[in-house]
């Protein structure tokens, strides 16, 4: 047998061995992780600094015995301080445990991690920015809104200053690929400015596509500004690419640059996903600028995401969110007025302006129609033309027929205009946990259904108890989670949290062969689509943004997305037995650190 095999080997290749891999097909973009050397280095440096501090502290206690007693007293005082603080309920016991376990340096570690002390300068700068830009938004007012929308609007106005809008239309995208195609077309039509703020900007096919458009627009005199998070984009965008973009006239800034120091501010990341074009239209959702978000790179199976395109008055809030963050990262105050309606720079009536790429047919000039129907690319400063059927085929552009028809179905159709849109930002510039409170408000107002799609499910007791109580009250509560995890430990905790809710009647689904990155909530009253996960980081530690709306078209789009997703899922509890003792133990340990995930 061996001789035969050797003969066969020689026959198939004179000098080459057979591959040791068992994979039949290997997609070359497939990777199970991304190099995060910079982040690891910085974490190690921070850890080293903490260890050095601890060492010197111990040395001090060795030299001065009295200092040991002083440390004990300080640890106890710190525990009381934590108990009395406004930290979220889940993180308090963890911190108290850490302070006691790390005796006698526990209090020192806590104080160095207290954002009220070491994030104070940033908070002050945010406060100044918020103050100088307050009152710049002119919404539709909270009068005459539906009950649940009015609750959300009042909360938003009082907490963040973001206001509700009408005179807005929106289009829902059930995937990143379709959203980015339209976004590119819209960016190509920009005349005044393009603002882009994303957690991840990574080089690749999508980056090349988008930045070639941005560079072209910047060269044409359009004000192009980009903010990316330094941790999210770490190792994914080269200096060469940054240099090229900047030399093309694109102004790019990293949010919260990573430095090899133990600094609590490093923990607060800009997780927002915003694109604003000319102050007339905006995109938001779960998407980032990276190939996996358009499924052109395979990381964790199929990448499920969503986005929403907003056109009209509500775009003002997205513009303001970006401008505030821009002032924060650049540290240069400037006049926002030219970018907002309130500044007197009144833009063309938004609803009769561009029209979304899929609904532009209504504005088709008859003379360009070839063969009955022509596909229209959106207009804008002549950057994008109408392409006839023949030209399109010649150019290799396939009509986005059924897919776009499906998307067109979920756009705000004429009779369904009138929905209220409340774009909002959340983060450390606001004292309240806005993300958590908006989710909690929407869930508490729901009586019929609460459908949630999220990559991570590590909420606090407020959300957990609300979901359990809604399910027990007879509401249809469903949670869709990924079937393929990106972070194994967080996934274990997410499944554990979700599984606990199944006892209350919550239906938990995992999407097979897919990583669900969509962050959305749908109730019978509203839809919330944005960047905020159902986890404590999004609730309390990250800069997030989202769109709250009761617009029927968006709600129907999201509903259809859920309905299309459920058949692709496996419902938890039907096939899974009880977790083994090892997994239960690991999950219990991980649950302790859930507030830090």
């Amino acid at each position: 047998m061996r001789v035969e095999k050797r003969t066969l080997k020689r026959q198939s290749g004179a000098h080459l061995p057979r591959s040791p891999y068992r994979d039949f097909v290997r997609v070359k973009t497939e990777r199970k992780g991304i190099g995060k050397l910079k982040v690891i280095f910085i974490l190690l440096m921070a850890l080293l600094q903490l260890c050095l501090l601890a060492f010197f502290h111990y040395a001090l206690t060795e030299v001065f015995r009295g200092y040991l007693i002083f440390s004990v007293v300080l640890d106890i005082i710190t525990c009381f301080y934590i108990l009395g603080s406004s930290k979220n309920g889940r993180s308090k016991p963890v911190w108290i445990m850490l302070v006691l376990v790390l005796f006698p340096v526990g209090f020192l570690v806590y104080l160095l991690s207290d954002e009220r002390i070491f994030f104070r300068p940033s908070r002050k700068r945010y406060a100044a920015i918020l103050q100088s830009s307050a009152g710049m938004l002119t919404g539709c007012g909270t009068g005459g809104l539906g009950k649940s929308t009015m609750h959300a609007a009042n909360y938003m106005v009082n907490t963040t200053g973001f206001v509700p809008y009408k005179n807005t239309r929106a289009k829902y995208y059930p995937s990143g690929a379709s959203a980015f195609d339209d976004m590119l077309i819209d960016c190509a039509g920009a005349r005044k400015f393009i603002f882009i703020e994303y957690f991840i900007i990574a080089e690749g096919a999508l980056y090349s596509r988008l930045f070639s458009v941005l560079e072209e627009r910047a060269a044409a005199g359009v004000d192009v500004r980009v903010i990316y998070d330094d941790m999210g984009s770490s190792g994914r965008i080269s200096r060469k690419a940054l240099k090229k973009a900047r030399s093309a006239g694109i102004r790019m800034y990293a949010f919260n640059k990573l430095v090899p120091l133990y600094k609590i501010g490093m923990n607060y990341r800009d997780h927002r996903k915003i694109t604003v074009v000319d102050g007339e239209l905006a995109y938001t959702g779960g998407i980032n600028i990276s190939d996996e978000y358009v499924n052109e790179k395979r990381l964790y199976g199929y990448w499920k995401d969503n986005a929403v395109r907003v056109e009209g008055d509500a775009v003002q809030s997205f513009t303001l969110m970006f401008l505030r963050q821009w002032e924060f990262v650049t540290r240069k105050p400037f006049d926002y007025a030219p970018f907002l309606y309130a500044g007197g720079a009144k833009f063309p009536a938004p609803l009769s302006g561009r029209g979304s790429p899929a609904e532009a047919d209504c504005a088709l000039p008859a003379e360009v129609t070839v063969g009955g129907e022509a596909d229209v690319q959106p207009r804008g400063a002549g950057a994008v033309t109408i392409v006839s059927e023949a030209e399109r085929l010649a150019a290799g552009i396939v009509p986005p027929q059924a897919e776009e028809k499906k998307e067109a179905d979920v756009q705000s159709a004429g009779e369904e205009h009138g929905g209220v849109f409340i774009p909002y930002a959340a983060g450390l510039e606001f004292p309240d946990p806005v993300v958590r409170d908006v989710y909690a408000g929407a869930i508490s107002q729901a009586n019929e259904r609460v459908w949630i799609m999220t990559p991570y499910f590590v909420p606090d007791e407020t959300i957990t108890n609300l979901l359990a109580s809604k399910a027990r009250s007879g509401a249809d509560v469903r949670i869709v989670l990924p079937g393929v995890p990106d972070k194994a430990f967080v996934y274990l905790v997410s499944l554990d949290n979700a599984d606990k809710l199944t006892k209350s009647g919550v239906k938990v689904y995992t999407m097979a062969d897919s990583f669900v990155h969509t962050k959305s909530v749908l109730t019978e009253n509203c839809a919330i689509i944005g960047s905020a996960n159902f986890d404590l980081r999004s609730f309390f530690q990250q800069y997030e943004n989202a769109l709250y709306t009761d617009d029927k078209a968006v709600m129907r789009g999201l509903e259809r997305d859920f309905e299309d997703t459920f058949p692709e899922c496996v419902q938890r509890g039907f096939i899974d037995g009880k977790p083994g003792p090892l997994r239960a133990l690991l999950t219990a340990i991980l649950q302790i650190f859930a507030p830090m995930m």
């Binding site: 290749g13 591959s19 290997r26 997609v27 070359k28 973009t29 072209e216 199929y302 396939v398 897919e403």
Partner: protein, 186 residues
């Protein structure tokens, strides 16, 4: 980007495939709307073929096609692993039992060799017998587990093959490439 036009470049995909199934894989990817651009042998391994595909960027039902393609790749990869995996459990359990048997037999041999009394001599033989029984047990158990697992993997594989056919049928229906669906089973 031209002055008046925004056109998307074609999407690209590169895969490495075992050469014996390359033609079927090409047909399968055709069903997803991909067309072969380049096909070349691997520089390191004789049984690997690299295939570069391209596809129009904007196509009908792209999201669905992407999901189906992932499911296809997962199913094909599972099938290629299923055979060897079906033996792993049997080999591990069989080897562990056989190890115990061999240890007992060796220990029994020592006892017999060094025994000074009849009782020790007899107990040595008993231990050797126990070792032999364990070895036989290892073979029987490994065979049984192997048969069960093969049956189990066989059932899963059959379902997966049917899934692959269904995936390709659906993909071909979306792209209109029905003729490209797999002609023979993977």
């Amino acid at each position: 980007m031209g002055q008046n036009e925004l056109q998307f470049e074609d999407d690209k995909l590169s895969v490495a495939v075992k050469s014996e199934g390359a033609d079927e894989i090409v047909r399968a990817y055709n069903a997803f709307g991909w067309h072969t651009v380049k096909r070349y042998s691997d520089e390191e391994y004789s049984d690997i073929v690299h295939i570069d595909f391209s596809r129009l960027h904007r196509i009908e039902g792209k999201d669905r096609l992407q999901l189906l393609q992932v499911r296809f790749e997962v199913a094909v990869s599972f099938l290629s692993h299923a055979g060897p995996y079906s033996l792993v459990r049997a080999v591990i359990i069989g080897a562990l039992l056989a190890l115990v048997g061999v240890a007992l037999a060796v220990y029994g041999g020592f006892v017999v060799a060094l025994s000074t009394t009849t009782v020790f001599f007899a107990s040595g033989f008993a231990v050797i017998s126990a070792g032999v029984i364990f070895i036989v047990l290892a073979i029987v158990t490994a065979n049984k587990i192997s048969a069960t697992d093969k049956q189990r993997y066989g059932a899963v594989s059959a379902v997966l093959r049917e899934n692959i056919r269904a995936i390709l049928r659906e993909a071909a229906a979306i792209t209109g490439e029905e003729k490209c669906a797999l002609k023979k089973e993977l």
